[in-house]
Structure formats: C-alpha cells, structure tokens
C-alpha cells in the first residue's frame, strides 16, 4: 500500500483488507504513525501522540485476528480523540492550562466503546481552550492549521480532530459539539462530522466545563458518510453512566446507505441562514440543493417561528452551564484562563437564574417549532458555516473581509462562525456536515443535513446519496 493509498483510504475499504489479514494492524498503525511524524509538526492536529499504546493495541488486535476473532469494521482502524475526552493513563487537558497535567484513571464511554469495537487510538487532538471557541488557536498548545491551507484555521473547537482526518493522519476521530464544534471544523476541513440526537451518544467522561449540559453532544468525524455511519453504530446507545443518555434503540445506520432518496422531502428554512452566507457558500449550497433535486427529492420551504431567539437561548443556557463547573478554577487559578475566556466566564456569572430558566422555556418553543417542521419534511438542509476558513491572522485581529464587507468574528449573539450550527444544539436534532463544494481558492464548504430526533439513518441515506452524486469526498489536501 502506497502513501497515496493511505490518503484516499476509508474505513469501509480497509476493514475487509484487515479482516482478510492482507494488511496487519501493526503495519497499518505504523504507516499512520509515520504520517503523523511527517505532517503533524506543521499541522498541530495531535497534541499527544500515543504511539507505544497504539502499537500495543495493534499487536493485540493482530493476535485476535490470527486466533479467528474479528471485532467488526473498526477492528484495527486508527483513530484520534479530542483532548476533552478522558483517556485512561493519557493526559487529557481540555485545551486548558488548568488541566495541563491531568491524567485520568478512566476512559470516556465513547473511547471505551470505540476500543471495544477494535479501534486503535493514536493520540489526543488539539482543541480550542476549554472548547470555548471555533478557531483552535490555543494559547497553550498552539494553533491547528487547516490541511487545505496552513495559513488558515481548521475551525473548532474540535479543530485537531477534523484536521487529523482531513490530512489522513487517522481514519476517524471523536469530537464534541456544544455549538457546532464537530460540524464547524468538519466543514472547514472538508470531512464529514456528525452530532447525533441529544442523548444518542453518551457524554460520560467529557471534561466538565467544555460544553453545556443542555447543548453538548459527542460525535464522529470521518472521510465519508458510510464511515461516519459505521462509527456512530459503534458509539451510540444507552449508558448508565450518563443520566441523559437515551434508551431509544440504535438504528440500522449502514442499512440506510445506498437507499434511493427519490420522493424524500428536503426542507429549506426561510430567513435564518441567509443572513450568514457568503457568496461562495451561497453558490455551493444552492448547487448542492440542485444536485439533491436531480436525485429526486422534493424541496419544501419552511417558516419556523422563534429562530430569532436561538442565539439568546444558546448563549444563556450554554454559558451558564459552562461556568458552573468552572467555579473551582475561578477561585484557584483564574488567570490560567486566557483573558477572553476569563472575561466571558465573569459575564456568564452575571446571567440571572430566572433568565436561565426562561431560556430553557423558550428552548422548548424552539424545539417544538422545529419538530413540527418534520410533519412536512424528512430532512432539513442548511449551510454549516457562513464562509470558508478564515486566515489565522484574520481570527487574531477579530474580523474578516467577506464579499467586500467587514464581518466581526465575535458578535453580541456569539461566535459568528457557529450561528448556522447552534439551532441544532438548542433543539438537540441530529445534524451532519458534509462537503458540498469548494471556494474559488480551493477551500472546502460544508452543508448540514438535519433530521427528526433519532432519525440518524435518514441523514446517512440522504448524505450518502448526495456525496456519491457530487463526488467532492474524493478530493484530498496536498500536504507536501
């Protein structure tokens, strides 16, 4: 297998090769570790590389194969894990200075499930400080560069996870998504990123304070929709350790792959997203909707009430829930937060309790309004991020020039880059970002497919059909 093959390899392609013992897990692991050694210094996708542990897992998985035991399609597949998910015996910083030396003695449930399915963990990925932003410009662990253009951000907060998959340093990753932190970097790096329904994936073992209790979700990154479906199957399901994890049965996700989408109804929400889309994103998104129409879907325009309140609900719920676990650090090591995050926590402490509860009540109205929309449609399509990846310099200065006008990257409603993703954190609806085109300067653009609660299979059905028809997934960044 050549280096080029590794760049285009997917889980679905490698699984049968590993099962047939045509490629050993150790060999595969070493090849990915070589790529990490070669490309990670420039990308800073991995914060910690666990080469020895990975090779140890690989050897054990090879032994199992020789003994006739194959765990399934993730057997021997190399993964990365965002650094706010606890990994037993491996440093887990949450992108923070406060947890710089924390080594958990337990695994997050997603990590445990992934390893039970046969995954090889190659390391922990860089992220925005405390998952509190979308640039992955981290003051303590450096900036993760976008594999498509290293002068640009990878997005965030799970920027390292997205970059590690886009650069083929691994075949999949797990991130967390409180306001778009899986889908935003997936969009900017041209990979598939999924936030399943609230409660579908256990959140046990996530670093507290890196996501709101009401709005945070854990989810997979992969190169293709099919790989994403395989990963979700492995990590979904009820978990006694997470009181908010759901007992709904796990769907047949891979069974939805390849089904026709003819006759399905795709909803487009009037108003809300138009405000945020640049010309490049508008063009790519419209073309993607056109492609879906050629596959036989029917487009339905939707008017959904209360969308103007989404940002306020997200702000009140997520910030209050994030600052509550920060109490200890605000007392003992407040200046170990970067100044913007320290100030944000102080502002969060000023949100009154009644406003928090009001936000949760308004949230119910928004949830009900979105759910009612699924009387009329099977899925909703929306842009993931309003514009392609900004440069690192633009993010540092706080604004960018988009279509000739100045756009503030942080506004009163929150981070500009996540205003397209937060509706589905507030509503808990499953939402997947996949590549729907490239800008004139070669940067990936993402589209979200959103479903009714626990209808992830439908996302895979529609996403896969679009992906195969459009063919963008075959493009890979040039890293040399």
């Amino acid at each position: 297998m050549t280096a080029l093959d590794l760049e285009s390899a997917t889980i679905a392609e490698l699984a049968p090769v590993i099962k047939a013992k045509k490629l050993s897990v150790v060999d595969l692991t070493k090849r990915f570790l070589d790529r990490i050694e070669r490309y990670n210094p420039a990308l800073n996708a991995f914060q910690t590389v666990t080469a020895d542990d990975g090779l140890k897992q690989a050897r054990a998985l090879d032994r199992e194969l020789r003994a006739g035991k194959w765990r399934g399609p993730l057997h021997g597949i190399p993964f990365s894990i965002k650094d706010n998910l606890a990994t037993r015996g491996v440093k887990t910083t949450g992108g923070s200075k406060q947890l710089a030396n924390w080594i958990p003695d337990y695994d997050a449930s997603v990590v445990e499930k992934l390893q039970s399915a046969g995954a090889v963990i190659l390391g922990k990925t860089n992220m925005h400080e405390w998952a509190s932003g979308s640039t992955t410009i981290n003051p303590y662990y450096g900036t993760t560069a976008n594999p498509w253009d290293r002068q640009r951000i990878a997005g965030g907060s799970s920027g390292g996870s997205a970059a590690s998959v886009a650069a083929s340093l691994c075949l999949g990753s797990i991130g967390t998504d409180n306001a778009g932190s899986v889908r935003h970097p997936a969009s900017l790096c041209g990979v598939v990123g999924l936030k399943a329904t609230f409660g579908r994936v256990s959140r046990y073992g996530g670093v507290l304070g890196t996501g709101g209790f009401s709005t945070d979700h854990f989810g997979p990154f992969a190169k293709t929709v099919r790989d994403c479906a395989v990963m979700l199957k492995a990590i979904a399901g009820h978990d006694l350790k997470d009181p908010l994890s759901s007992r709904e049965p796990v769907g047949n996700y891979t069974g939805a792959i390849g089904k026709s989408v003819k006759g399905l109804r795709v909803g487009l929400i009037n108003g809300y997203f138009d405000e945020f889309m640049s010309a490049a994103v508008h063009g790519a998104f419209d073309a993607a909707v056109g492609q879906l129409k050629t596959l036989g879907v029917k487009v339905v325009k939707l008017d959904i009430p209360y969308t103007d309140l989404i940002a306020a609900v997200q702000l009140a719920t997520s910030r209050v829930e994030n600052v509550a676990p920060a109490h200890e650090y605000l007392q003992t090591s407040p200046r170990d937060y970067s100044a913007p995050l320290f100030y944000r926590h102080i502002k969060s402490l000023l949100i009154p309790a009644d406003v928090y509860v009001t936000a949760q009540r308004v949230r119910r109205l928004i949830c009900e309004a979105f759910e009612a929309a699924f009387d009329k449609v099977d899925v909703i399509a929306a842009p993931t991020v309003g514009s392609p990846a900004q440069t690192i310099d633009e993010c540092r200065q706080g604004f960018a020039i988009v279509d000739g006008r100045r756009v503030e990257l942080q506004e009163e409603r929150g981070t500009t880059g996540t205003l397209c993703t937060i509706p589905f954190n507030v509503t808990g609806l499953p939402a997947m970002s996949l590549c729907c085109g490239f800008s004139a300067n070669g940067l990936p653009i993402g589209m979200q497919i959103v479903g009714a609660p626990f209808d992830e299979a439908r996302l895979f059905q529609v996403g896969h059909a679009y992906e195969q028809a459009a063919g963008w997934y075959g493009r890979r960044p040039n890293l040399d």
């Binding site: 329904t197 609230f198 409660g199 009401s214 908010l244 994890s245 759901s246 007992r247 709904e248 209360y306 103007d308 309140l309 940002a311 306020a312 609900v313 702000l315 009140a316 605000l330 007392q331 407040p334 100030y343 102080i346 502002k347 402490l349 000023l350 949100i351 406003v355 509860v357 009001t358 936000a359 949760q360 009540r361 308004v362 949230r363 119910r364 109205l365 949830c367 009900e368 759910e371 009612a372 699924f374 009387d375 099977d378 009163e412 409603r413 808990g428 009714a452 609660p453 626990f454 209808d455």
Partner: protein, 66 residues
C-alpha cells in the same frame, strides 16, 4: 453592571483592574440586551426542556409533537 463586576472581583479575589471592570461591564450590558428579548415571549404553561429526548413514533405524514 460595573458594581456587580466589582463585587464578583472582591468575592473571588480576582483583583480586576479598572480597565478590566469597564470592559467586562460594557460587554455584559450588551449580553443583557441580547437576553432581554427572551423575557418578551409569552411563556404561560411552557415548561423548560428537561431530560432525555424521545423519538417520533407516528408516520411521517401524520406526525405530532412529542
């Protein structure tokens, strides 16, 4: 707002500078304005979202809210 920030600073022992207090208070005032809109919604009988979500059980053509 500045007074509230000063109180928090004293309570937590942050020793915020006057510049920091001005800045945080100004940003908190903007935040308050954004959140103010939530109070203008009629919420009688509307309970907060709590607990795990449920799947929709009925057919796509005849779906009702959970």
């Amino acid at each position: 707002m500045e007074e509230q920030v000063r109180r928090l600073s004293a309570q937590y022992g942050w020793n915020l500078s006057d510049d920091e207090i001005h800045r945080i208070a100004a940003e908190a005032a903007v935040q308050e304005k954004v959140l103010e809109r939530l109070k203008q919604i009629h919420l009688a009988q509307t309970r907060p979202v709590m607990g795990a979500f449920k799947a929709r059980r009925s057919s796509p053509g005849n779906r009702r809210r959970k």
